[in-house]
């Protein structure tokens, strides 16, 4: 069995001939999805389930004065009406980085949509009617809904200092801050011929999964609980429920139906501890199905404001880059501090810069707590850095491509310097050049259009643990147990492909088990595009473990010396030639039959002192090129071309790579062109729901869109692969911004680049320099 604790390293292309890996195998679970047979959380029926609904108040910040539950109790079908006073005191708080989120709003409402009262009733209608009847008396407080308000000297504190008593910053709304610097950080004395200084903003956007989600909690006879939740991290949820309600892990079973879209929004527990409490209190199975509006109030990306100052040499080399980065994280920490530290860590981009200074803060506001979202902080900071590069290029008479050619690091060159440097783990110039080629950069831009090219980088997981079991059954079928949540990325398809090749089993004879903590071994989480690398390696190791076991038992059963046997993917090599592993396994198992069970683990230890807890297992790198046509009178943008190229290592399933790349790229158009959560003066979300929160449709995709991959087999995952699912979103905004600036002559520095903002930019530019 391979050493499970070794540092991940590039394994290079497998020597064996791949039969299935590298092929466009159709998605596991695809047939159920096209026929409507797939059961998502809200499609699972429970006998005698009670239904949960929440009462909220229409402001973002208030003190709860009194709650009159009697009108709710008087409604038909009501089983329980619960608010903070009904929970064990003090009300438990939980969270991955800070234990700051209460199980239910306690004394205060800190964002619009925070549940204040939970009703359990016999039907969904009855639960909503009763929740609507509950009366919440409150006093609205001067909440902070934006950065300036939150950072003002006399700002309302989103969190009472008692929530984080040992924190030096607890009398401010700064939750955490971090500083990265290398070189001579005091750039004032540096004489760069070209210095660009500007401020950029990135909007709060919401995940908008087509499955808004929900939770079902069922008490069990042994005093434990079963939680059904479409979470990306079932084991984190299990641990949270066990911690909050003091139940042993063994009696907390998490069943995680496939998430109907995750994108980072379904990682962390939020309402699960409350629904568990309701189930334990009432003894009933309690079911909560969220509306899309409630999903908006559950998950969003951090907004961000970046002030950047960048110096360039005469020939366009970066001399220094300074940034003050403020993330708008919302009312509770969730994983936002990590988003802030990780996103700003790569804030200076994949460039060769002698002097860098990045100061980043996670700032609390009375808004929906932000969480992970595809790109994890990198798109926010990258928007500013990429825009600065283009501003420098314009000032120096270079174009988007040329300035990147001059600054992008070469293979194995450090782009983060200092005590914990990070080096390029790919040949990133190849991606840049490929994107330029695909958009036809060398051809003149058609009249009236503009072009931009940008690059993006995101650290993959910095620590990790994935464990897998694989069973090779007597009849030649096989099962893999892998805890990765299959939320659309198609993880199980890859495990099938790996099993098919490594064990020589037909694809149709492979079953993958996931989403149940009672039967599937531990997996840390499904995030950071880690699964293909981490769980992939674990599954691969489990298959190799099986081949070892087949070899040993075959030797015993046939009286062959082990030294005369060897195995390779799908085969056992015997003195009389290679035979199919499945055949060898049958021979080895003999009349008693039975099966082989293999175990595989992939573990990445962190590095003490490293600002991210360790260097990334791999970097996602992407180059995006965009061509636009801008209507100068209205500001409307038409995307004529959109090209993205990812540095993927190896495509295990090219069809899924294309799906993920196109999906990420189009999702990136959302925050680039149209998406933003808007709040009123009382902290209410103004565009709460699909009618006024716009996401890209079929018609918003570029007229010509292409994605491509660079395959150098240089990743740490199986067959040299890297994680890929976020790359194509990382620099969409930068490329759109550069293209629009190219078309209209002036950049837009606020996202989304709406028609209105483009119009305003053109108007202001004309005002400043009348023709």
């Amino acid at each position: 069995m391979p050493d499970e604790n070794q540092k991940l390293s590039s394994s290079g292309p497998n020597a064996g001939t791949h039969r299935v890996v590298g092929q466009p195998v159709h998605r596991y679970g695809g047939v159920d999805r096209v026929t409507g047979a797939q059961r998502y959380l809200s499609d699972i029926t429970f006998a005698n389930a009670a239904h949960v609904a929440f009462a909220t108040i229409p402001v973002g910040c208030a003190a709860i004065d009194a709650i009159d539950t009697s009108p709710a109790w008087a409604m038909p079908g009501v089983i329980a009406v619960v608010h903070a006073d009904d929970l064990p005191q003090p009300v438990a708080r939980f969270g991955v980085s800070h234990k700051d989120r209460p199980v239910i709003a306690t004394k205060m409402v800190n964002y619009h949509g925070e549940p204040v009262v939970a009703v359990v009733a016999e039907t969904e209608d009855e639960a909503h009617a009763a929740a609507n009847a509950a009366v919440i008396h409150y006093t609205e407080l001067p909440g902070v809904y934006g950065l300036d308000a939150a950072l003002a000297g006399d700002a309302h504190l989103v969190q009472d200092p008692s929530v984080r008593p040992r924190d030096d910053l607890n009398s401010t709304n700064v939750l955490e801050q971090v500083e990265y610097a290398w070189g001579d950080v005091d750039s004032d004395g540096i004489s760069s011929p070209t210095i660009i200084e500007d401020t950029y903003t990135f909007p709060m956007v919401t995940h908008f999964p087509i499955e808004p989600g929900g939770i079902v909690a069922a008490p069990t006879d042994d005093g434990g609980i079963e939680i059904y939740s479409p979470v990306q991290h079932p084991y984190l949820l299990q641990r949270t429920i066990a911690d909050v309600w003091s139940i042993p892990l063994s009696r907390v079973r998490v069943i995680a139906p496939d998430p109907g879209g995750g994108f980072g929004g379904k990682q962390t527990p939020r309402y699960e501890p409350l629904i568990a409490f309701l189930a334990l209190k009432t003894g009933r199975t309690c079911r909560l199905v969220l509306s899309l509006e409630e999903a908006f109030q559950l998950m969003r990306r951090s907004g961000c404001r970046i002030h950047a100052r960048t110096g360039f040499s005469e020939s366009g080399e970066l001399a220094f880059h300074e940034m003050q980065v403020d993330f708008v994280v919302g009312a509770y920490a969730d994983v936002a501090p990590r988003v802030m530290t990780k996103g700003s860590y790569v804030g200076a981009g994949p460039y060769r810069i002698p002097r860098v200074s990045i100061n980043a803060r996670a700032v609390l506001t009375n808004t929906v707590p932000s969480c992970a979202f595809r790109g994890f902080g990198a798109p926010q900071v990258g928007w500013a850095t990429e825009s600065q590069l283009d501003a420098g290029a314009r000032a120096l008479g270079l174009d988007s491509l040329e300035i990147r050619r001059r600054n992008l690091v070469e293979h194995d060159e450090a782009f983060i310097r200092g005590d914990y440097e990070a080096r390029s783990d790919g040949r990133w110039h190849e991606s840049l050049e490929k994107a330029a080629e695909l958009i036809g950069w060398h051809e003149p831009t058609p009249s009236g259009r503009g072009r931009g090219i940008a690059v993006g980088i995101k650290p993959g997981a910095t620590t990790g643990l994935s464990q897998s079991l694989v069973r090779l059954l007597y009849d030649g079928s096989a099962m893999a147990y892998a805890g990765t949540s299959d939320m659309g990325q198609g993880a199980r398809t890859l495990w099938k492909q790996i099993l098919a090749d490594e064990l020589g089993v037909d694809l149709d004879l492979i079953t993958i088990i996931s989403g149940d903590t009672n039967s599937v071994p531990f997996d840390l989480q499904t995030s950071a595009s880690r699964s293909t690398v981490f769980m992939g390696n674990a599954v691969l190791a489990a298959c190799e473990d099986i081949r070892d076991r087949v070899l040993k038992l075959y030797a015993e059963a046939t009286g062959t010396a082990q030294s005369e046997l060897a195995h390779s993917p799908g085969q056992l090599v015997t003195p009389s030639g290679a035979i199919a592993l499945v055949e060898a396994a049958q021979t080895a198992l003999g009349g008693l039959r039975g099966e082989f069970v293999g175990q595989g683990t992939c573990r990445l230890w962190g590095e003490k002192g490293h600002p991210l807890g360790g260097d990334a297992a791999f970097y996602e790198f992407n180059a995006t090129a965009i061509e636009v046509e801008v209507d100068h009178a209205t500001g409307e943008i038409l995307l004529t071309k959109h090209v993205t190229v990812g540095d993927v290592g190896t495509e295990i399933n090219p069809l899924q790579v294309v799906s993920q790349d196109e999906g990420a790229a189009i999702m990136g158009l959302g925050h680039s062109l149209m998406e933003q959560m808007l709040f009123d003066d009382n902290g209410q979300i103004v565009n709460l729901g699909a009618i006024d929160y716009r996401i890209p449709t079929f018609n918003d995709v570029a007229l010509d869109m292409q994605t491509a991959s660079i395959e150098n087999n240089d990743g740490p995952g199986p067959y040299g692969c890297k994680g890929i699912s976020e790359g194509a979103l990382l620099c969409t905004a930068g490329a759109v911004g550069a293209a629009v600036a190219d078309a209209v002559g002036t950049p837009v520095r606020e996202l989304p680049i709406t028609a209105e903002r483009v119009w305003r930019t053109i108007r202001d530019a004309n005002r400043d320099s009348p023709v």
Binding site: A129, T634, N687, I691, D692, T697, F698, W759, R760
Partner: protein, 282 residues
């Protein structure tokens, strides 16, 4: 909670509305009504589904000088009708951009005016053709110009005991040209940020219908005859006409952007109308 009935005759509809004492809501397509029901699910709304009423006027009736739309005329029929495309192009074009195919299969023209949104896509075009609306109620039928029908956002002159039975759209004389222009936040299905329908008669007088720039859709007076070959003349005429616009800032756009866009779209609508055949862009 809501209640539902499905009367068979107009008189039954009126009886149901009378009994509902102001809580009655007419249901045909439901694309607006169901959104309202969802937002206020506990109100005792009386849903009066008139799709089985057998003495309603036909959905679309084309006469010599008028096209009559009954309560069941759906956007899908209107946007796909070649006669409408040829004679009432701004109306056909505006019906074409209402929601998605699934929405247009349900949403009705009468419903679009009764919802009385300042952003109602078809109203600027209906204005430009000088449409009238006919209501029926306990006191019998009455007809009023569509411009007088709207009172404010979501408010019309249709009483709680009345229903809109018909919209009459006069077929313009030969030589009249019209077009529709709309601005949205994305290229796919969207609500309008600003919309404009332009009608240009044989004497080159311009009338504009304007959406999203006032508490109700607006219509201008007719301009004096304009030299349509002179862009500056068109711009000048438009500038005069759109002075009636009083846009506000909201979730879709700021006031000053709307003020600027209503001018841009109006000029384009006039130009589009007077180009070969008239048409739409959005």
């Amino acid at each position: 909670m809501a209640t539902y009935c499905r009367p068979r005759t107009v008189s039954e509809v009126l009886a149901a509305l009378a009994n509902a004492e102001g809580r009655g809501r007419i249901l045909v397509g439901g694309t607006d009504l169901l959104v309202h029901l969802r937002k206020d699910p506990f109100a005792p709304t009386v849903v009066v589904d008139i799709k089985s009423v057998n003495d309603l006027p036909p959905a679309v009736e084309i006469d010599d000088d008028v096209v009559r739309f009954g309560p069941t005329a759906r956007m899908a029929e209107i946007s796909g009708d070649p006669f409408i495309a040829g004679h009432l192009p701004a109306l056909g074009a505006s019906a074409r951009v209402v929601g998605s195919i699934a929405i247009r299969n349900r949403a009705t023209l009468v419903g679009n005016i009764c919802n009385a949104s300042p952003a109602a896509d078809t109203v600027p075009a209906l204005f430009v053709y000088g449409s009238t609306v006919t209501l029926t109620g306990p006191g019998g039928e009455r007809t009023l110009p569509l411009v007088e029908f709207f009172v404010g956002p979501g408010q019309t002159r249709c009483g709680p005991d009345e229903i809109v039975i018909r919209i009459d759209v006069p077929i313009p004389d030969r030589g009249h040209r019209s077009a529709f222009q709309r601005l949205t936040r994305r290229r796919g299905v969207d609500l309008a940020t600003v919309s404009v329908a332009a009608g240009v008669d044989a004497d080159a007088r311009i009338v504009l219908g304007l959406g999203c720039v006032g508490p109700t859709p607006l219509v201008t007076d007719a301009s004096p005859p304009v030299d349509l070959t002179d862009p500056a003349a068109i711009e000048g005429a438009v500038e005069e006409l759109v002075s009636i616009a009083t846009p506000i800032s909201d979730v879709r756009a700021a006031r000053d952007y709307r003020e600027a866009m209503v001018r841009v779209l109006a000029v384009r609508a006039v130009q589009s109308a007077t180009a070969a055949s008239g048409g739409v862009s959005s």
